[in-house]
């Protein structure tokens, strides 16, 4: 685990803990850092706490203890400043059904503080995320999940934020679009953005991320850099972690460490 960088992380979770009102401990003392030009992939089963982590960065919920920071700004202290540095794509992108793709892009770009884009800019980005030309001026009503996801990604790109939060961004994308998305992610990373992504897609995670964290029941149970994962069968490890953690958390953790 490297922590020798001198520049500061764009996204940082510090002992982040969240207990919901009903007592569920969704996050338990989670810490990680994402530097500019890096992708951090959160792997984990359903209910592991991935969405909760992202919600904390967006200040949709307040942490029980610990803090989430965006470019040094504590999100629950100054949420507006933090959010102005964040772009976000949700698990299931939902946009205004009565607006066309372009109108949705225009609205959300302006909401994100970007007022100088032209229609051509929107079309270019939509093409970049792989949405066919003919759909640009169609209302969102008839869009498939994957098409909506592409619009969501386009909106995140348009915001031009230094940090990007992606909650299972590839869910609903066909293989071709998935591949295009991977390329897109790489180019965003190479532009120097910090990307935090939750995913169930182990292969893609290994492909493009600098760091992979495996989450289980609100804890990060394993965290490895791409270098450390070189030649390692991540799927094997993941499944073992999941299984092991469920049977006997202690033993499984020992074995891999």
């Amino acid at each position: 685990m490297e922590d020798t960088r001198t520049d500061s992380p764009l996204l940082e979770a510090i002992n982040l803990t969240k207990r919901y009102e009903d007592g569920t401990l969704a996050l338990d003392d989670v810490s990680f850092k994402v530097y500019p030009g890096e992708v951090y992939a959160m792997l984990g089963g359903n209910g592991a706490g991935k969405t909760t982590t992202i919600n904390l960065f967006l200040n949709f919920i307040e942490p029980t203890s610990g803090e989430a920071r965006v470019d040094g700004i504590v999100t629950h202290v100054d949420p507006l400043a933090a959010k102005s540095k964040l772009a976000y794509v949700s698990e299931n992108v939902m946009l205004y059904p009565n607006f066309t793709a372009l109108q949705n892009l225009d609205y959300f770009a302006r909401l994100g503080g970007k007022t100088s884009y032209s229609k051509d800019d929107y079309r270019r980005v939509l093409t970049r995320v792989g949405l066919e030309e003919e759909a640009h001026d169609r209302r969102l009503k008839g869009f498939s999940k994957g098409m909506r996801q592409k619009c969501g990604i386009a909106i995140a790109i348009l915001k031009d934020a230094p940090a990007i939060l992606l909650d299972e961004p590839t869910s609903g994308l066909d293989p071709k679009a998935g591949l295009e998305f991977t390329r897109l992610l790489q180019s965003l990373r190479d532009e120097g953005r910090a990307i935090l992504m939750s995913t169930h897609d182990i292969f893609r995670a290994k492909d493009i991320s600098n760091t992979v964290g495996i989450m289980n029941r609100g804890k990060i149970v394993m965290q490895k850099t791409s270098a450390e994962l070189e030649g390692v069968d991540l799927e094997q490890i993941y499944v073992e972690y999941m299984a092991g953690y469920m049977d006997d958390a202690g033993v499984a953790a020992e074995e891999v460490a």
Binding site: F60, K83, S84, S90, Q103, L111, G112
Partner: protein, 471 residues
């Protein structure tokens, strides 16, 4: 930011099929309200003029002022056609006699039951029902619907201040609903002069205020809808809740208020009062009869008197008694009526007070106050008629030499002068409607209440949204 959110709200509402459909319905109903109002004013006006002419005509050829059958009529008011209030319920025709009760009859509904059925087409009713439903239809899912659709989450992933967002939402949806409604309203206003409604500047001013009240009323339900939308998890539950509120506010409260006040204050019916009056007047008559008999036996014909002289003496005594009795009965009648009126006033005040918990009632009261067709119209009309009756009585007494058409007067002496009367000599009755300023000042309480409703729900929506879980 605020402008962007307002713009988006406008575009989202105006671009929806739901809006196109509901707006068409509302616009049609509003236009119909203006049209029917204009037409019905026209009809009432011709009826009124015909009735006035007929009243004069039927006196033609009469020779005795004491025997005329005189009626006065309530002139239709231009705004009464749009906001009928009680204008159609009260009697518009009053037979004026020098003695006895003044009873108004021939209400519009009596004459033309179809109007009772179609009263819903008046502007006040259409505003009351349609604007509230319109607001609910677009406000019920303003917040929780966006959450359900997932757009709230994406919006708040940006640096959007919540206060700006909710302000934009409230302002945007209000504009989206209110501005398009101006079109049918303005067309309707143009229709009025075309349909021959004589609108004067005071009338226009009041009509503008009625429309402003309508907008305040729309605002109340819109802010309430957004408030409830921000208080509930699902749009289905906010819709249901708002429907219940609507039924209570529009249908239940105004009726219950009348029931409750009816229980609280006992107002004798007109029949009870008439029964009491007849009873006492009968009693007085019996007393007079025995007095007359006593007079007869105590003051028989004296030796110096001719039979005619005795009859005159007797007749004078009778007349004296009758006059005294009439005076007593009138005083009693006035007392009973006054008492009833006071009780009625208390009852009305209670009913109106209770009903004011509903914005719909408040709107109705404001609109009818402004149109001059509130409950007070009946009183104003009756007061003016009874004042007129005094002039009329004086006039008739002058003409008939004091006995004012009493049955005992007249007789063979008049038969010599067979000259027909000139009905145009009669004092003219014209209903003197309160001035625009008076009516406006009467409506201020309810205008204020509508404003307060707006503020309360607006603040409610605002605060609820600041705490709203946008996930």
């Amino acid at each position: 930011m605020l402008k962007l959110i307002i713009e988006k709200e406008l575009r989202e509402i105006l671009g929806s099929t739901k809006f196109v459909v509901t707006f068409s319905v509302c616009a049609t109903l509003i236009l119909i309200a203006f049209y029917v109002g204009g037409r019905s004013y026209d009809v009432s006006r011709s009826d009124y003029e015909a009735a006035v002419a007929e009243n004069v005509k039927q006196m033609a050829g009469l020779t005795d002022w004491g025997r005329i059958d005189h009626r006065v009529f309530l002139e239709p008011q231009p705004l009464g056609a749009l906001v009928t209030g009680i204008a159609n319920d009260i009697g518009r025709t009053t037979e004026v006699r020098t003695r006895g009760e003044l009873n108004s009859e021939n209400s519009r509904f009596n004459e033309d039951p179809l109007f009772a059925v179609f009263r819903f087409l008046d502007l006040e009713f259409i505003f009351g029902i349609v604007l509230s439903l319109f607001a609910i239809l677009f406000g019920y899912d303003a917040i929780n619907g966006e959450k359900e659709r997932g757009t709230l989450r994406l919006s708040f992933a940006n640096a959007v201040p919540r206060d700006k967002y909710i302000l934009g939402k409230l302002a945007g949806s209000f504009l989206a609903l209110s501005v398009p409604l101006l079109i049918p309203i303005l067309i309707g206003c143009l229709l009025l002069p075309i349909l021959g409604v004589p609108m004067e500047s005071g009338d226009w001013q009041r009509l503008a205020m009625i429309i402003a009240c309508g907008y305040l009323y729309l605002g109340v339900f819109l802010a309430l809808s957004i408030f409830i939308s921000a208080m509930t998890e699902h749009s289905s539950s906010s819709f249901l809740l708002l429907l219940v509120v609507w039924i209570i506010a529009v249908l239940i409260v105004p009726r219950t208020a009348v029931l409750v006040s009816g229980r609280a204050v006992d107002v004798p019916t007109m029949d009870e009062i008439n029964f009491e009056k007849n009873r006492i007047s009968d009693q007085l008559r019996r007393e007079d009869d025995s007095k007359l008999r006593a007079y007869w036996s105590e003051n028989p014909q004296t030796g110096t008197e001719t039979r005619d002289q005795m009859m005159t003496r007797f007749r004078n005594y009778w007349s004296e008694l009758a006059d005294a009795r009439e005076q007593e009965v009138r005083a009693l009648s006035a007392r009973l009526s006054e008492d009833r009126r006071n009780r009625e006033r208390v009852q009305q005040r209670i009913a109106l007070g209770i009903s004011r918990i509903s914005p719909t009632s408040v709107f109705s009261l404001a609109a009818t106050d402004l149109a001059g067709t509130s409950l007070e119209l009946q009183q104003q009309y009756q007061d003016q008629v009874s004042q007129y009756r005094d002039d009329y009585t004086r006039f008739i007494e002058e003409k008939t030499g004091g006995s004012g058409g009493f049955w005992f007067s007249g007789g063979s002496t008049d038969e010599a002068e067979e000259e027909p009367i000139d009905p145009y000599e009669l004092p003219v009755f014209e209903f003197d409607a309160p001035t625009a300023a008076t009516l406006v000042s009467k409506s201020l309480l309810d205008l204020g209440l509508l404003t307060i409703f707006n503020i309360v729900f607006f603040v409610g929506a605002f605060v609820a949204f600041l705490r709203y879980d946008v996930r």
